[in-house]
């Protein structure tokens, strides 16, 4: 009995030492100490021994069990340590392998600019409002103080709809400005609103001209509104687009629906001493605007003696071109994935 236990112990230790993995060690443990293992089989033999022999044999069996358990534990710790070292050594690992493909999409650059500005103006209490793209002549021109014989109304500038009565002609809106009067009619004064959207011109396409593009109109009407408020709104907008304060200057500009009318120039964000974008002048013309013409307020049913307001227009397509360095506007409506893929969500 003693011999067998000692042999079991010796063989067991050898088997443990030979186990090379956690799984192999597990198998060895089951063979030695498991319910049907070698030691259990020996223990079953204890009952056949005499009463004198039994305590010593029992003690020995217990010692063997403890020895084996200790050997197993040590071996397990050694294997785990070796496995950890193996993992950390990183053999066969190429950490420069590419990332797994994930679904990727992107927003259209013009829409990205539009939505950022919607959020910016929304946070300043502006309503974001929409108007129809097929617009009445009254809304697109008359209400905006654009005279009946103004060249902009002619068919080489404006896209007109077929079969409409002479006194109710429809066109594709040539600017987002009609929303000024529409929003004022809807909400009355005081009001602050921005209106992003698609506009259309009868225009031959080239790198800088498109018949379909996007604008954003801004309008504020309240008591005591003046040029300083307009300037602040315009500056905020540019800060939103370019992510920093730009030096700006106001100069005269003419648009029938504002008086006085302005052009806002900003210091070219791309250079210090003149570049292609600013045509060497260090200023780029960014945004027209002005105080809302009294005739426009009247058309919207707002009393110009009580209220005043400002309006501005922003070429969203142009802003996106400036921001991302897109030199040909025709990409915008191309749907070409090689273009769209470059703009993240």
């Amino acid at each position: 009995m003693r011999d067998r236990l000692e042999a079991l112990c010796r063989d067991g230790i050898a088997a443990v030492a030979e186990a090379q993995s956690a799984d192999a060690l597990q198998d060895v443990e089951v063979q030695l100490l498991g319910r049907n293992g070698a030691l259990t089989a020996q223990l079953k033999g204890l009952g056949k021994l005499s009463a004198e022999e039994r305590p010593a044999a029992g003690k020995l069996a217990n010692e063997v069990k403890q020895t084996l358990q200790k050997a197993l534990e040590d071996r397990r710790a050694a294997i785990e340590k070796a496995e950890l070292e193996e993992d950390l050594a990183g053999r066969g690992v190429d950490p420069t392998m590419p990332g797994a493909p994930m679904p990727v999409g992107g927003v259209h650059p013009v829409m990205a600019v539009a939505r950022e500005l919607e959020d910016l103006f929304g946070s300043m209490g502006y309503v974001v409002w929409d108007g129809p793209e097929i617009e009445t002549e009254a809304h697109n021109f008359d209400n905006l103080n654009i005279p009946g014989d103004h060249p902009a109304r002619e068919s080489h500038d404006t896209i007109w709809m077929e079969d409409t009565p002479e006194d109710g002609r429809l066109c594709l809106r040539t600017h987002t400005s009609p929303v000024q009067v529409r929003a004022l009619k809807q909400f009355g004064a005081p009001l602050r609103v921005v209106a992003p959207g698609r506009v259309f011109r009868q225009e031959a396409q080239d790198a800088t001209h498109e018949h379909t593009f996007h604008q954003m109109e801004g309008l504020v009407v309240d008591k005591g509104i003046g040029v300083p408020h307009m300037l602040h709104a315009m500056n905020s907008m540019l800060e939103g687009i370019f992510g920093r304060k730009l030096e700006t200057r106001l100069r005269p500009g003419f648009f029938p629906f504002v008086e006085p009318g302005f052009e806002l120039d900003a210091r070219c964000p791309f250079c210090k001493q003149g570049c292609k974008v600013c045509k060497g002048t260090t200023w780029i013309e960014l945004m027209p605007g002005g105080l809302v013409h009294p005739n426009v307020l009247c058309a919207a049913g707002v009393d110009p003696e009580t209220y005043s307001g400002f309006a501005f227009g922003l070429g969203l397509s142009r802003m996106a071109m400036l921001r991302y360095g897109i030199h040909d506007i025709r990409w915008m409506m191309s749907g070409d994935l090689r273009f769209l893929e470059q703009f993240s969500a």
Binding site: R198, E203, R251, A345
Partner: protein, 806 residues
């Protein structure tokens, strides 16, 4: 429009200011200056030379061999080919190392064996005129070695103004207007125009009649004896015309151009001897009347056009261009000078229709001050008599009709003016600015009564707010400080459709790898047929950007399909989406209905399965479901194949099409694109599917969605995999419906994980394998419930004509 600063300097002192500074002042206070040019810059190296010797070239008959002295150094040998070169001449000389226009660099050369160290120039080589018959001969007084541009007084700076920023300012279409602006901006005196002419007592004898008073309310004519035939205008005048790119012709024509460019008023000189009737009639053209303008093109006229007739025939297209038969020629000795008021819009329409926009028509269309007509006549005569002392004005100007600018008096509130501009300015300062600009101001205590000068009263200044602009711009907009608005009026209203669109689009882009695009609102006319619709179903364009592209789209699918086709070569698979409007004519309504759509188009290579749950069609259903889930509508969503009686868009595959409903509201559909359309669009290497959702319908049902939290069960569930072998004709939706219906209350989730046909199944059968989860919120379930569930499933399978596979 180009402005010569020498010319402006005749009327206001700007000699101490650089061209850059003046450009900036005008940009900031008046109108946009787009560029600055230096006139004469191209010939800055050319100097006055003296031909000290001139002889025959020994080896060439037509060449002369000269010695030219040009200051300081020794005379140099120059070979010259001009027939008029002579000894003793003063000439324009380009020495070695100098540059001439056209990037021509003068180098030492050998011509037929003789060295030549420079070039004696013709007017054409100097770009002074087209003259190239010989060299330019200078006056004998010309100082040798002086720069030619200094000797000829050519040095000038020219500003290029943006015409668009001048459209509302009829007073700024001549140099004098800019002189006035600068005098006010700089607060310096403005010299008057020299209009000092001693008119003869003799009255004119021409019979002038105006039969189209709207078109021409006033016509002035003055007969002048030129005292000889036309000659060349003086150098100073030719320089100025050239500086602003007006080609000199002869002194008579040049003076009319000079007056036009100075005052802004076009005049026209007829050769009086060619006018047959001793009469002038201004009338509407006859429909179809033809007329040859002085550019020798025969024009077909319409009744809206305005012509000048001599009683027998048309002699000018009023305000646009004179006639070929009656223009001033080199033989003309007597002229009739026209200075008239024409209707701006009619002149513009004529010029535009005939593609004949001239300097004159550009000005007339701005509605000029009628008072300019008298000034222009006087200025013409003054200049003519100065240049040609032998000329004689034969009669005082004859004026038929009467036109004046409206007299406008405006009430200006100085307090409000300050408030609107955001500047502190007192009444005298405002009055000062307005008076400098030519307004007259009367202080009435509270308000200022301001009378508008005639040159600003034709259409430019008509309201008090226009005066606010005048004060603001002269004061300087750049001096206004930005100021934020007061606190928001209220929580801003939002358009639900816009929010919904943004939300769904973000989901498509961020979770489903779609790229947002923008596509055109127009459709090719052929699409009407392809879509099974007629022209009357579309809003149509009267003047399309491209012919045959006259339809406004009803939904964005066709435009997106076109973009998908465009992508095929570079991208064999992709997914585009767009938030877009569609336009539908509504009977009895003026404005069409504009519907907001969310559209997705997806294309993939031919190896993508056409059917089954890995197909493009199934993917789009997955996308739809996820979008509905993001709106908490998944529980209520009803997805169904299209019923045979439902009208379908022609782009949809008749079977691989699904409609999405919540309640009775149709939200949209997804489908494979009809194979016929796919073939017609040359989608030969790919398969295409679309998803189209109606945002308005979605917004309506999304408003009623009530997201609710369900407490997860604390007890473990039992996973049971089942596979039902069923006839292929039984739709998946029906199978799932039956499982859900009979699965009992413990059936928690059900997920398809395999579809199989093939060995082990009967012909025409397919196996649908589901992973189901049974779970109770109250207890741990036992084998008993699992067995019961399997039994139910077996019944379901049998009901549906198949069996439960083990």
């Amino acid at each position: 429009m180009k402005i010569s600063l020498n010319w402006v300097g005749d009327y206001v002192d700007i000699s101490d200011l650089s061209a850059e500074k003046i450009a900036e002042l005008l940009s900031l206070h008046t109108a946009e200056v787009e560029g600055i040019e230096s006139f004469g810059e191209g010939i800055r190296d050319v100097v006055v030379g003296h031909v000290v010797q001139c002889g025959q070239h020994p080896a060439a008959d037509k060449l002369s061999l000269t010695m030219v002295e040009y200051g300081g150094e020794e005379p140099v040998p120059v070979v010259c080919g001009a027939p008029n070169v002579r000894e003793g001449q003063k000439i324009a000389f380009a020495p070695v190392g100098s540059k001439l226009p056209g990037d021509l660099k003068i180098k030492k050369a050998k011509l037929r064996g003789e060295v030549s160290r420079g070039m004696i120039c013709s007017e054409r080589e100097l770009e002074i005129s087209e003259e190239h018959d010989g060299i330019l001969e200078l006056h004998q007084d010309a100082p040798v070695g002086e720069r030619l541009i200094d000797f000829l007084g050519m040095k000038d700076s020219v500003l290029e103004l943006d015409n668009k920023s001048l459209t509302h300012r009829p007073d700024l279409w001549g140099h004098y207007g800019f002189a006035r602006e600068l005098s006010v901006i700089l607060n310096r005196p403005l010299s008057p125009l020299d209009l000092d002419v001693a008119w003869p007592r003799q009255e004119g004898s021409w019979k002038i009649s105006l039969s189209d008073i709207e078109g021409c309310p006033q016509y002035g004519a003055t007969e002048i004896d030129l005292g000889g035939i036309p000659g060349q205008a003086p150098t100073w005048m030719r320089n100025r015309l050239q500086a602003v790119e007006q080609r000199p012709v002869n002194d008579i024509v040049d003076i009319t151009n000079y007056v036009l460019l100075e005052i802004g008023q076009p005049t026209h000189a007829f050769d009086a001897s060619t006018l047959r009737g001793h009469a002038i009639e201004v009338r509407a053209a006859q429909e179809g009347e033809s007329f040859t303008t002085l550019d020798e093109v025969e024009r077909k006229l319409e009744s809206d056009d305005l012509v000048i007739s001599d009683g027998e025939r048309a002699v000018a297209l009023a305000g646009v261009m004179g006639g070929l038969d009656t223009e001033v020629t080199h033989n003309t000795t007597r002229i009739l000078l026209e200075s008239a008021v024409f209707h701006g819009t009619r002149i513009r329409r004529t010029a535009q229709r005939l593609a004949l926009r001239s300097e004159a028509s550009t000005r007339f269309e701005k509605s000029l001050d009628p008072a300019y007509t008298q000034q222009a006549t006087a200025r013409f005569c003054k200049l003519l008599l100065d240049i040609r002392p032998a000329a004689k004005v034969l009669s005082a100007p004859q004026v038929e009709g009467h036109s004046v600018a409206p007299e406008i008096v405006l009430q200006l509130d100085p307090v409000r003016t300050s408030e609107l501009l955001g500047i502190e300015m007192d009444r005298p300062a405002m009055t000062g600015i307005l008076e400098n600009l030519g307004f007259s101001v009367e202080d009435q205590g509270q308000e200022l009564a301001v009378t508008v000068p005639s040159w600003r009263a034709t259409k430019d200044v008509s309201l008090a707010i226009d005066l606010v602009e005048e004060i603001g711009r002269i004061h300087g907009y750049n001096r206004i400080q930005a100021k934020p608005l007061n606190a928001p009026v209220a929580v801003p209203v939002q358009q639900p459709l816009r929010l919904l669109g943004r939300k769904l689009l973000a989901r498509l882009v961020q979770s489903h790898g779609a790229f947002e695009t923008q596509s055109y609102s127009f459709l090719d006319n052929n699409w009407a047929d392809s879509l099974g619709l007629g022209r009357q179903d579309f809003v149509c364009i009267a003047n399309p950007v491209h012919s045959e592209v006259e339809l406004m789209r009803r939904d964005p699918i066709p435009s997106l399909l076109e973009q998908a086709v465009g992508n095929l070569r570079e991208n064999p698979a992709g997914r585009l989406c767009e938030l877009a409007k569609g336009y539908e004519p509504i009977a009895g309504e003026l404005q069409p209905r504009e519907r907001c759509w969310l559209a997705v188009v997806e294309w993939a290579g031919k190896d993508t399965p056409r059917e089954g749950y890995e197909s493009l069609f199934a993917r789009l259903r997955g996308v739809s479901q996820d979008l509905m889930r993001s709106l908490d509508l998944l529980d209520k969503l009803r997805t169904s194949p299209v019923q045979p009686e439902t009208p379908m868009p022609t782009w949809a595959h008749p079977v691989q099409s699904l409609e999405y409903h919540v309640g009775e509201t149709l939200l949209g559909r997804s489908c494979r694109v009809h194979p016929r359309l796919q073939a017609a669009m040359e989608f030969d290497r790919a398969d295409v599917g679309v998803l189209l959702l109606d945002l308005e319908a979605l917004a309506k049902v999304a408003e009623q969605a009530e997201p609710k939290f369900h407490e997860p069960s604390k007890f473990p569930g039992i996973k049971v995999d089942i596979a039902l072998a069923l006839p292929e004709a039984v739709p998946y939706d029906e199978v799932v419906g039956a499982i859900r219906k009979f699965g009992g209350k413990f059936l928690d989730s059900l997920e398809l994980f395999d579809v199989y046909t093939g060995p082990g199944l009967e012909e025409g059968q397919r196996s649908l394998a589901f992973r189901s989860l049974l779970r109770s919120p109250e207890r741990t379930l036992s084998d008993k419930e699992e067995r019961k569930f399997l039994k139910k499933m077996e019944q379901v399978a049998i009901e549906l004509g198949g069996n439960l596979r083990s």
